[in-house]
Assembly symmetry: C2
Homo-oligomer: 216 residues x 2
DNA sequence: GTCTATAGATTGATAGAC
DNA sequence: GTCTATCAATCTATAGAC
């Protein structure tokens, strides 16, 4: 029988180190040596426990995106169920809130989560095929559900317009997902609102006004 | 005296090859061998003509961003001058149009320009320090001017809110700057409007409604 | 200016002892 | 499971012939 405690601890240390290094330096910019040194484990440990560097990336993403997506889906289902109960269309603001709020809350929950959010913020535009593909695999069902909810909220709208606007909303979240990115180009006196809910309000106001009445 | 024709042609071929490869595979994912092979020049040519791989990246960005930024600034100045002449506040839509329109038009002007737009779309969130820094160096004056114009358009608005909203607008442009990105997660029947002006309208409608009346 | 050849450093991965 | 040692395959950059 294997030493499960040692295994679990070593794997976790590797995941933590890799997560932070991938966030700071990207996938290609991070070496197995950097990861294992930071984790305080042997160079061979990554290949022993995960198989390869690519499989390690998949594990890094999976560990965080699994729970996060379950949260987002639960909130979304709640919104849709509540709307169905009252016989009204679901509110776009509630739908977007079900996606944005868990994401930004999760980001503040733990340094590792913050690092992972940095990785996935980059992932959609990444030139690193593995990062992009692994992220898309994890996000696709969520994206489909979100889009379906938006279509339910705007039954009359041409689907291409709704899809574009939904993508604009998701893209608009990017500066809040990468705070140091937000800091770049900021005027010298800029202070991001300290309260997460305030940040969320400003983003949701922007997106929902952007979506507008939208029944033209 | 050097052979200026040969030099200019070789440099251009290297720039073209590098631009496309950086767009496809990122900076780190592109080797000098791949660049020189694609350009049909010798491996040593990059270091001879540009000094280093990093200096080549700077040259790739500079060649396109120089003219593009001049276009954007000229349009922005036009908007501000026209507003000053009539004594009215500049219209947010005109300001954003001065930034968005040259960008997306430029992207359609030439395959190389399209590749370069892909590079700069990724640059703001890039984990590759050189890409990010080189881009920021080129975009910073433009960003400052844009933000100043937005402040002129919304004189009463708290500056942190205006800055955030402006960043949301810039981020929202991302899906239109990377078309294949837009295609990912799209519903099977999705067709991006063929006309650039139509794409622009949808984006500008979204952003300007998002910015809203905004004098609270 | 262009070329070949190669230096010098790093990389992901693995074999095999413990 | 952990370790050392190492392989084979990269890479950027450059020296020096033409």
């Amino acid at each position: 029988m294997v030493n499960q405690h040692a295994t679990a601890a070593t794997k976790a240390r590797i995941l933590d180190a890799a997560e932070n290094l991938f966030a700071d330096n990207g996938f290609r910019g991070t070496t197995l040596r950097a990861i294992t040194t930071k984790a305080g484990v042997n160079l061979a440990a990554v290949n022993y426990h995960f198989g390869s560097k690519e499989d390690l990336l998949a594990a890094v993403l999976d560990r965080r995106l699994g729970p996060l997506n379950r949260q987002r889906l639960a909130k979304l289902d709640q919104v849709l169920a509540a709307a169905a109960k009252t016989g009204r269309l679901p509110a776009p603001r509630d739908i977007l809130h079900a996606f944005f709020e868990p994401t930004l809350r999760f980001r503040e929950s733990e340094p590792g989560a913050r690092a992972c959010i940095t990785i996935i913020t980059r992932a959609i535009t990444s030139a690193e095929t593995i990062v992009r593909d692994e992220f898309l695999k994890q996000i696709e069902p969520m994206g489909r559900r979100l889009l379906a909810a938006m279509q339910a909220a705007y039954p009359g709208l041409p689907s291409h317009k709704l899809y574009m606007q939904t993508r604009f909303c998701l893209a608009a979240m990017q500066p809040l997902m990468m705070e140091d990115n937000m800091a770049r180009m900021a005027p010298p006196d800029f202070k991001l609102p300290h309260e997460l809910d305030r940040q969320l309000d400003i983003l949701l106001d922007f997106c929902c006004q952007g979506l507008g009445n939208n029944h033209d």
